[in-house]
Symmetry: C2
Subunit: 242 residues, 2 copies
């Protein structure tokens, strides 16, 4: 009855949990729940997470969902986890909670809204709303700006730390989702934020080789989505000429 991690590597919070476990030498079994195949709605998974989302964990009989809560739990429940991930200092811990809460309504909202409306919805044949896409991109850009000029103003990692915390890992995995976009869009959105780009590289290095290994699925999806988008735009162009 060891630790089970229910995850889909296409989801940023799933990747954060998987990388965290691997980097900290936590023994776990990864159970794939493919969201594009709606496996999160199975009755089997409902018993793990009735909210039908990934990631979730089962540690023996203890079940938990919501990625930030899971990362805090793992940091406290597994003694081998290095203290920089979730420092016991009251003030540092409070600031980590503050970033993670901010993440929900800002960076995640912007990034998830943009990716869903621009790529996931068209691929799955679901409706997408241009107004929501526009607003999501605005929220995302504002969030990247806050990261650049506020959260990362004091050092290599968030809050001026020299080593990553669970907040660094969560936020970087979120921003990685932008890689699903075209190369031009990804560059247009990210490149003005030099500190953010450097911090992403530093977080990757601090969690190597697990970061790239867990992100492999994303890179493969990126290739597939980019090809699909090109086919769609060729089709549209052909139609307009007919």
């Amino acid at each position: 009855m060891g630790l089970k991690v229910y995850a889909d590597r296409i989801s940023p919070p799933s990747r954060a949990i998987l990388i965290f476990c691997k980097v900290n030498g936590i023994d776990f079994e990864e159970i794939q729940v493919e969201i594009l195949k709606n496996q999160q709605y199975s009755s089997e998974y409902k018993a793990i997470n009735p909210m039908h989302q990934v990631p979730a964990i089962a540690d023996g009989r203890f079940k938990l969902f919501e990625s930030h809560a899971i990362l805090i739990y793992l940091s406290c429940a597994f003694p081998g986890v290095a203290s920089h991930w979730y420092p016991s200092d009251l003030f540092k811990r409070a600031k980590i909670h503050s970033i993670l809460d901010w993440h929900h309504s800002n960076l995640r909202r912007g990034s998830a809204g943009l990716i869903f409306n621009t790529y996931v919805a068209p691929v799955k044949g679901l409706p997408s709303y241009p107004q929501v896409t526009k607003e999501s991109e605005q929220i995302l850009i504002r969030s990247l700006s806050k990261l650049e000029f506020f959260w990362l103003k004091d050092g290599q990692f968030l809050l001026g730390s020299s080593q990553p915390s669970i907040a660094d890992l969560c936020l970087v995995c979120e921003i990685m989702e932008l890689e699903l976009q075209s190369e031009e869009d990804c560059h247009r959105i990210l490149s003005p934020y030099k500190k953010v780009v450097r911090w992403m590289e530093d977080t990757k290095s601090a969690t190597a080789p697990h970061f790239d290994e867990v992100h492999e699925v994303l890179f493969k999806s990126q290739k597939g989505i980019r090809e699909w988008m090109t086919t769609q735009s060729v089709k549209t162009e052909l139609k307009s000429k007919m």
Copy 2:
């Protein structure tokens, strides 16, 4: 240099912090930041919370924003706080984090989206989107259903507890915002959820008399908004007859 709480009682997370401090006998100074007057954008307040949102605190030189992070900090930093608000047990604490994280993307997203688009935007002369209003109400209804049939399934308070935690207080203050609606809308949305309604009453009782005192501003705004909405609908009716 005691504790300062920057709040606007019209905001649900502000009310949660104020009630928490009063119930737990925490000595603090309340500093009003009126969001309808855009006081959150002043340069003075930017030094407290560069995200321009309420609530925020300054405990001596330590500044913090995001209401969940603040409630956790206050629970740990002030020894007089009763343990049921944020139990030290690893598993209970993990479940409280899980609810608070769930709150961000579900109950809060639904409630805030609905209230903003239906009442705040028209009163402030800002654009509102019927599609967003509709989606927000759907998210809200789904969240109330999850509260009724999952989070409140085991007892009087969340997670089967017999006393409230910071999660109970946050979520009940959020749902109270629905009081800004017309009596019919409020009844239509809330009344199918009997456990939710009882739990709200229990949370009010457990935090009396501070709960009602801090919510007084909301009840006054409710009166003003309902009068304003009636005037607007009379105007629209008159116009349609002209």
